[in-house]
């Protein structure tokens, strides 16, 4: 109950007029940042960080976290309208969001995405409020072996639960692993696969690959199909929002499951990206109309968005209570905390009550404000699709190029983006799924690092992945996911034999 008292005190802090103003400004700035591909939450927060130095710490963190929420909401907009995910965790949103937009249902897709994000975030904040102290100690149980098990589960559920041919999925994933291996090997400190090119020191950045594979690839495909930008007949009034809201409660099971997946992945520092992919994969397998996933199913937007935001929000908990940032954006926020003289860690909840609970209260309010702001803008965003392709395509191309350039301020990256665009076009033409490739680029080197750290610690014994109940349970889940279709076949054959 002490938490609730603290929370109400926090609301009192967050509801001061100045803080509400800061909240709205933050959300609007965040949406703008989220819409520009490549700029992303982390860069946006970093650029705007100095703005907040003259504010009291609580207002400053409210502003920054609202920029973060705004960017999360904004990221869904480009994913759905242009098939360009601005952040790793928006990738899964494109699978069904973009086909919906092409069918003229951009308004529905956006509403579903925003509402699900809101539900996911709210669920995660409620969890933070209630179980903050417990969760921090749970996260401590995650060593390298447990982290690897989580990544393993993400990869397996993608191979096993996907309706694509598993070998095509694995082939695409392997390309992703190979690309992820380029750059510095963090275990030995040696350079790998750079062939003496200093541009490759940093490896292939996920964002550049994604902007190319999805954004440029999509433009190439559309050009081939005759310069028509489908979805021009999008309904653009606020009634769409209300109609979609009527539909959404039917997917409450998917929402709840995605919330749980998201919170779990956010707290164990695996993060929002595996959460969104895993949630999408499971929803596809379990849902009644799962076979329609990828063709514009609203449930396919709900699942990843809910999970990603639940994870993104709950990832702030390890940052506050352990000082470990779960995402680049969280890392920049962490830098901000230090500048304001706040030391994240176990003592923050004890010594800086007003700050912590003010922040948590602002998560509730910030998300409500954010939802209102973006929902009122749905018609405007959907209207973008009415602009003729010949005008919008060059604009998107320019935006993509700016986005790719701004990641490392390097023109080499713009070239790389174009190369990835061609690769994306070719892979799509050959019906190879792009998602596993992206998943492997994002998580490949993290998985490799965790794997090798585990083996270093166990002196080479693979037994470390089954050394305690937690890690064994996750590994077994992964194996079940991997062989799911085989298990299912075996099961139905067994039933057939019995009958």
């Amino acid at each position: 109950m002490e938490e609730l008292v603290n929370l109400f005190h926090g609301f009192a802090v967050a509801l001061q007029p100045f803080n509400i103003m800061v909240m709205i400004v933050g959300i609007v700035l965040g949406v703008v940042i989220g819409v520009l591909p490549g700029l992303g939450g982390a860069n946006g927060v970093a650029i705007l960080l100095p703005l907040t130095f003259s504010m009291p710490p609580t207002s400053a963190i409210i502003m920054l976290s609202c920029i973060y929420w705004g960017a999360l909401f904004g990221g869904a907009i480009t994913s759905i309208l242009f098939n360009i995910p601005g952040e790793p965790w928006s990738v899964a949103t494109t699978f069904d969001g973009y086909p919906m937009a092409q069918k003229g249902k951009a308004g529905e897709a956006l509403t579903a995405a925003f509402t699900s994000s809101f539900v996911g975030a709210l669920f995660a904040v409620a969890m933070i409020t209630l179980v903050a102290p417990l969760v921090a100690s749970f996260a401590l149980q995650f060593g390298p072996a447990e982290k690897f098990a989580v990544y393993f589960l993400a990869f397996c559920s993608f191979v096993g639960l996907s309706k694509e041919p598993p070998f095509k999925t694995i082939a695409a994933m392997m390309i992703g692993f190979a690309l992820a291996a380029v750059g510095l090997d963090s275990i030995t400190g040696q350079l790998r696969l750079t062939f003496g090119f200093t541009e490759l020191l940093n490896g292939f950045d996920f964002l550049i690959a994604v902007i190319g594979l999805f954004g440029i690839g999509e433009i190439l495909l559309t050009m081939e199909e005759g310069l028509a930008f489908r979805g021009g007949n999008a309904k653009i009034n606020l009634r769409v929002v209300l109609q979609t809201w009527k539909e959404l409660p039917a997917y409450w099971i998917t929402s709840l499951r995605s919330c749980l997946i998201g919170c779990w992945m956010g707290v164990t520092p695996a993060g929002a990206t595996p959460a969104s992919f895993m949630s999408y994969g499971i929803a596809k397998r379990v849902a009644k109309n799962g076979s329609n996933f990828g063709k514009g199913e609203i449930e396919g937007v709900v699942a990843p968005e809910t999970a990603a935001h639940a994870a993104g929000t709950s990832a702030l908990l390890p940052m506050l209570s352990l000082g470990v940032p779960g995402s680049p954006t969280a890392a920049v926020l962490l830098g901000g905390l230090l500048i304001w003289g706040l030391q994240p860690g176990p003592m923050l909840f004890v010594e800086q009550k007003e700050f912590v609970w003010g922040l948590i209260a602002s998560m509730y309010l910030g998300n409500i404000v954010g939802l209102l702001v973006v929902l009122t803008c749905v018609p405007i965003f959907a209207a973008i699709l009415r602009v003729p392709f010949s005008i919008i395509a060059p604009l998107i191309l320019v935006l993509c190029a700016i986005g790719a350039y701004s990641v490392h301020s390097s023109t080499f990256d713009v070239m790389l983006m174009l190369v990835f665009g061609v690769i994306g076009y070719l892979l799509k033409k050959c019906n190879y799924p792009l998602a596993p490739l992206v998943l492997a680029i994002v998580l490949g080197d993290k998985a490799e690092e965790a794997f090798r750290q585990s083996l270093l610690g166990s002196q080479g014994s693979l037994g470390v992945f089954f050394s305690n109940t937690l890690v064994s349970a996750i590994m077994v889940l992964g194996l079940i996911a991997l062989f799911w279709s085989v298990i299912q076949q075996g099961y139905s054959r067994l039933r057939g034999a019995v009958a």
């Binding site: 390298p144 963090s186 350079l191 020191l201 940093n202 940032p325 003289g341 860690g345 002196q459």
Partner: protein, 337 residues
């Protein structure tokens, strides 16, 4: 026109002289935003320091042009150093360094040496402390080292940031000094290392004070000794009635190893004297602010400040030392893995 500009400059110089009472040179000033390169990822020690400086400069209006922090962490910081090396004559770019100034070129063979850059100033030195989990029985460095020696070789795990960088160099030096044998496990960031130690996935770390102080205050970690010639200067109590000053030196515990990490500023090659002077004055002003002093205290930094020839001499000696340390450890790129 020229005359007006000179008058204006003169006026600015006069204002500076009156306002800040620093000898007004005003010979060179940035005319564009200055890029502040961090050759490491977001959230690490160098990044925190760079962002603190950015905050101080903004808050106190120390520069007329904005200072923009940019992370170029690729190839263990090689990306950032090469960027400066190839920006010769561009005074609108500075870099903050950590020990990877020495270790990255030595370990990876990237064509770069600190001599390719222009030294500006040493801001501070970062300390290294030997930490164990507070639940473990070891109260002194000696007890811990004895326990490592008694355990089967390699079964005790030392965690650290990066591979073949400062943390692993210290680990190898500790092994040499004591005959104990660790398994070194590299992680991406110091904060993560400290948390892995709290979760008992590691047996010890050599975290910088700022990376582990929160866990110490929370009663989760215990400092055993500091790798410096004398104890740290800060006597404010942190946890269990102890301050940074109460942590004994490792040498006094029979662990003969000293290591401090450079937090210094460099410019690209071919910087003029006026340009260097501008940044030296800027950092002198930064050091005078209360925010900077708080930051130094929170991270228990060694606040040595060097510029000019003294700084260059220090860097040169340190490079030689790293070459020896890394050669002894077998970390040099040419000798293979």
């Amino acid at each position: 026109m020229k005359h007006t500009a000179q008058t204006a400059l003169g006026a600015i110089a006069a204002l500076c002289a009156v306002g800040i009472s620093v000898p007004a040179t005003a010979a060179w000033e940035p005319v564009r935003p200055v890029e502040f390169i961090v050759p490491a990822g977001t959230g690490g020690g160098a990044d925190q320091m760079a962002r603190t400086i950015q905050g101080i400069v903004t808050k106190h209006n120390l520069m007329k042009q904005p200072l923009v922090v940019i992370n170029k962490a690729g190839g263990a910081g090689g990306e950032g150093f090469l960027d400066l090396k190839t920006s010769g004559g561009n005074p609108h770019k500075i870099i903050i360094t950590l020990s990877n100034l020495f270790t990255t070129p030595l370990a990876t063979g990237i064509p770069f040496s600190w001599k390719d850059l222009t030294p500006v100033a040493m801001l501070a030195l970062d300390e290294f402390v030997l930490w164990v989990n507070a639940e473990k029985p070891y109260k002194t460095a000696k007890e811990y080292v004895d326990a490592v020696k008694a355990a089967p070789p390699g079964s005790m795990k030392m965690g650290g940031t990066g591979s073949k960088q400062e943390d692993q160099i210290i680990t190898v030096a500790v092994e040499k000094a004591t005959g104990a044998k660790f398994t070194y496990i590299p992680y991406k960031g110091g904060g993560e290392v400290a948390v892995q130690l709290v979760g008992n996935h590691l047996d010890s770390t050599v975290n910088n004070p700022i990376e582990a102080v929160a866990q110490w205050r929370g009663g989760k970690l215990r400092p055993l000794c500091v790798f410096d010639a004398q104890p740290m200067a800060y006597d404010e109590q942190i946890a269990d009635g102890k301050s940074w000053k109460d942590i004994p030196t490792c040498k006094s515990q029979g662990l003969d190893m000293e290591y401090l990490m450079l937090r210094g500023i460099f410019m690209p090659p071919r910087a003029t004297k006026d340009q260097i002077e501008y940044y030296v004055e800027l950092f002198k002003k930064v050091r005078a602010t209360p925010e900077w002093q708080d930051f130094m205290k929170s991270g228990a930094f060694n606040t040595t400040f060097l510029t000019g020839a003294d700084y260059a001499k220090w860097v040169e000696a340190e490079e030689k030392r790293h070459e020896t340390l890394m050669k002894d450890a077998g970390f040099l790129a040419s000798t293979g893995n």
